[in-house]
Point group: C2
Chain length 475, copies 2
Amino acid sequence: MNALEKLFIRIVQRVNINLRELEFDAKPYVWDLIPKNQMTKFYAFYGISPDHPLNLQFKHSGLAGSYFLGQCRVSNSLLYKCDVRGDELKKKGDRFQFKNFNIPISKDEEIVIEDSAFVKTLIHNFSHDPETLEKFFIKDTISTHYANIHGSPSDGCFLGPFSTVDLTTMRDCIIGTFSYVQAGEISHLNIEPGTVWVRSPGAFNFLYRYPIEKLKDYIYFKAGIKPQGILMDFVENRKEDFQRVFDVVNIEPSFDVPATASLDRYAVVRPSTRIGENVLVSQRAYIENSYLGKGANAQENCYIINSRLAGNNVNAHGAKIIEADVGENVFVGFNSFLHGQPENRLSIGKESIIMPHTIIDIAEPLAIPAGHIVWGLVTNQDDLEAHSISIAELSKIKTRFTKGNMFFEGSGENFVSAFQDRIHHILEANGAYFNSHDNSGQGHAQKNQNMSFNTIQPYPRGEYEGLFPTIMIQP
Amino acid sequence: MNALEKLFIRIVQRVNINLRELEFDAKPYVWDLIPKNQMTKFYAFYGISPDHPLNLQFKHSGLAGSYFLGQCRVSNSLLYKCDVRGDELKKKGDRFQFKNFNIPISKDEEIVIEDSAFVKTLIHNFSHDPETLEKFFIKDTISTHYANIHGSPSDGCFLGPFSTVDLTTMRDCIIGTFSYVQAGEISHLNIEPGTVWVRSPGAFNFLYRYPIEKLKDYIYFKAGIKPQGILMDFVENRKEDFQRVFDVVNIEPSFDVPATASLDRYAVVRPSTRIGENVLVSQRAYIENSYLGKGANAQENCYIINSRLAGNNVNAHGAKIIEADVGENVFVGFNSFLHGQPENRLSIGKESIIMPHTIIDIAEPLAIPAGHIVWGLVTNQDDLEAHSISIAELSKIKTRFTKGNMFFEGSGENFVSAFQDRIHHILEANGAYFNSHDNSGQGHAQKNQNMSFNTIQPYPRGEYEGLFPTIMIQP
């Protein structure tokens, strides 16, 4: 057994120890998911820009195909084709307001990944946990295909494929396949597959559960197999396009990118695509024959195909939009799968909110009216009515409200305004409101333009094959 | 405001953030407990021996009067007259058995104290948490007078005076005055003052609650005052004896210490005391006119006065024994206060177990029979009957059992054997079974003999008055 296998065994053991109360054994789920013989094949790469603090420390880890930006330490971990962002790190001297606490940031924040293994996971660093503002830690954690660890410190957890943990600190939890959790702080929970849970303690609680038999067509995962279903097939079918992007050193876009927009060098863009002012297309996004209006973004692992986005659209990590016409200010949440057809297009009216982990998969045309919230599984007009509510109506809810498999309690107004505030923040952070006249409102779309990319390689053979030497990269 | 005050404010804020769900404000409790103007007065000291790994790193911290041994990092913290032990650290290459997990230790364990403040707290490092075997962490935690953090990683907690957390990992918890918790893993709990709780999930649960009005005579603490009551008066009255021990550079015991025993240089020993073979007397223990038989120990903050201990006695951290005759193999738990009188002595039969945080305070002679377990508040024979059970009888309990304020459920046999195994381990670790013929069974009593002591000092004035410069001490 070489060092990489020993390391993997050790990580699995650590996760199992943390999850012992939930009687979970990660090994049969993940042993074949990180292709150990391929860990030598892919270089890792990192971005350098004047706007991001540079401090990378890698120790006894495999990093195949992973991308890093900003201040990050990785030790005793295996990362396989992950995106680790470091572009929203808090800085020494900043202050963070949390309710009535005004908290000074006492040193530059860093991302610290220890004793963990991830497959094709997105790690986004803007964590909101007031308990750990200087250290965004992920330890003793395993995460599988296309999961999002979004500003969520994690200790001793397992994340199923296409799951998302958003602004939630987790300890000793299992997050089921395709589940979305935004709950502040959770501990010792086993979240069933297909759960969509948004909670703000004392304010509101939104809970939806997918009909599990229907979800299985889209994504299914059990011990001993690879994740499978329509979602996996969809991304696997486009893998080769990404291979080309990684195989060449320099790449030029095939069309004009406005000076205020940015198109990542590791995105795939196919004809005939146009992007407007202030647009952000992140690494590992996939755009084909689409138009992205001013201030729209396509975040990591987004797919936008044969679609038209009117402008100021947030397409959160992993959102997929096919054959759709999307109005202004529409938000499409994490890992949503919005699948129209050439003859049966989907249209979404302006300012609507598509909840994270929504699946819309239609064989007839479907129009979502403006100003609506949509969740869950929608295949036709009847489903839409059972899985949506107008924002105006939801804002009136003061106690509780149920519809199908969805349960809501608390203040609808707070829920709506929390979402809207956040959408506004995301657009702002991404540079959607950038004004080139006075240079105000800079965000990722503008700052990411000055990026240079560098690559690092693992040991090519021997006991440490597939692991990287100890590497520290500082200014 | 100088750097030390700023640091203290920052620590208090961090604790409050962690405890926000429990709506706790630590500031009024602790602001006057660390005498900031005295932080410059006391040196800190550390022991060096061939048997303990040396790696001390102190950063932006005040350490007044604190003692360190072994591998330890302290940053952004205030320690006031604490004992931090590092003599049971796990070593790289060791293996740790936890139920069916056999876990390799992948690097030398270290004690890591961050963003915390402690007053006269004992930190003992043999932690049992299989999730964090290489790092015994204490962060965002405030602990007050004579608390014990005993092998218990802690994140975001507040410990009241004379409380003990034993082999328990805590997150965001308040441990009330004089409460004892041994519960494996706890989170977001507010433990009421005077709680004695011993739980092994799936095996047993022991719970006793002190009558709070009676406990107040012994120890009472609220915001804005110093801890007060008989226990505080007892230790304060003997403070000057310790002052002498710290004021001189070299000190020689006034009697013969057997070659197999150790008497710490920072213990107080008054006439006419005798100690037997294999005895361990730790720093900050106080022995007066007493006999400690072969293999007995007096751990940190123990007081043994006018008493006779037959041998192989464990007197856990903070135990106090006055005017008592204690049989062989008797265990006296943490912070217990066993107070006989010259004319009304207390006797404890062999192999009895005095539970942690037991108060026996008598005005008539009292004899505890051999082989009994005693808990709670005992002032006379009637109390004793209401607060004890024979070990034989307890071993027969299979479901549940209550007596007064004590509730037990689970297997009495498991409970008894867990205690007995642990007592055996403690005696072993302390060197009680050392055999000088074949040099087998070495423990702290033997290893601590080769210790040299060194002192370090804080900034004497200026902005950083009372804080120590950054110090790293390695071989």
